[in-house]
């Protein structure tokens, strides 16, 4: 019995990542981090800013996402997101830039609590990978 399942990450422009041999994926779901193993029950959830960790034979990979939807069905995990970067390849000044924008957004006082929560989350994650 293999413990592997299929992962597909798509963004609006293209299919970002396709892996057949994933053993575990940890996603930053809206209500907390969620680990997904093989034969997980079918689930739909959406993401908050955070790090997706992908474990496979070839090791661990990390991706930063800002939002997205995940769907797990029949050992197929699909992640739909409009903003995803590989943590390894992302340039430092790009993170700085995103941090600046997020901090400016967070300083505004006319945003809703939920939006503020999401932005603070984003700042925290960006700082942690910086």
């Amino acid at each position: 019995m293999t413990e592997e399942f299929k992962l597909e990450v798509v963004n609006p422009e293209k299919s970002f990542l396709l892996k057949e041999d994933v053993t575990e994926v940890v996603v930053p779901a809206f209500e907390g981090e969620m680990g997904i193993l093989k034969d997980h029950i079918s689930i739909i959830s959406f993401l908050k800013p955070g790090i997706i960790k992908v474990y496979s034979k070839s090791g661990e990979e990390k991706y930063y996402v800002e939002d997205g939807i995940i769907e797990f069905k029949n050992n197929n995990l699909s992640i739909l997101t409009s903003s995803i970067f590989s943590v390894k390849d992302i340039e430092k000044n790009k993170i700085d830039e995103m941090l600046k924008v997020a901090e400016k957004e967070s300083a505004k006082d006319n945003i809703s609590d939920q939006a503020k929560f999401l932005i603070d989350q984003k700042i925290e994650v960006l700082r942690s990978i910086n």
Binding site: E8, P12, E13, K14, I43, I69, L80
Partner: protein
Amino acid sequence: MASLDDLKKRIASVKSTQKITKAMKMVAAAKLKRAQDSAEKGRPYSEKMNNIILNLSEGISDKENAPKLLSGTGKDKIHLCVVMTSDRGLCGGFNSNIIKKAKNYFSKLSREGKELKIITVGSKGNDQLKRIFGDKIIENISFKNSKNANFFDAEKVSKIIIEKFQKEEFDICTIFFNQFKNVITQIPQAQQIVPLKTETDDKEKSEDNYEFEPDEDEILTNLLPKNISTQIFKAMLENSASEQGARMSAMDNATRNAGEMVDKLTIEYNRSRQAAITKELIEIISGAESL
């Protein structure tokens, strides 16, 4: 009859026009390849999104209190039409086909006594519509500066739509765009995006029970605006592929027509040159005879 010099000039001018149309055809062909690629690559995202929404809307517990973007306002009074065209001309019937389709729809609406609001995306559509429906156009968006269709632009459009929906400025929203079938055929499409029409394809329908986290309603509220961006992005991709395809075949025709014209003019030129020579010969011979 035109003089030899005139004909020569005309041939040269047609030839240079042909050069331009040929170059435009080449450029369009190269761009078409790219646009087609990105349209194909963008497809999985919108398909998956559609599937998830379908599953969600079936699983929703309380249909009465479903998000407005899914169920609609319950009225059918004000229609918002988003007409998506290109920013550049010289692409055959591309823009006029969309406009024709949209105008038909508009007149149907006005016959039924509905109120109409128009958003135009792309300057060509705005140019053609403002003469008749100028007072109905509430917004004109143009992405002249973006090289390719990108998601960021699509989000801008959808933000405007959602804002207007939340202010209850319209009940039903339809987008008009060209669907890319192949290089010579583009089909103008009208697609309703608000309230969302869930097409229930029997084969796609899954009997799976999903677990939702958080609950369906909350996911739907977050997902529906994203779906609008996705649909608009899809329309933009289809449109840009169609535009290049239409331009390519239009320029191909133009090049061929120019070639035919050059041939015809050349024959005429040769004939008149021959006629002039014959005339001169006759003059010389008859002059010699009279001596």
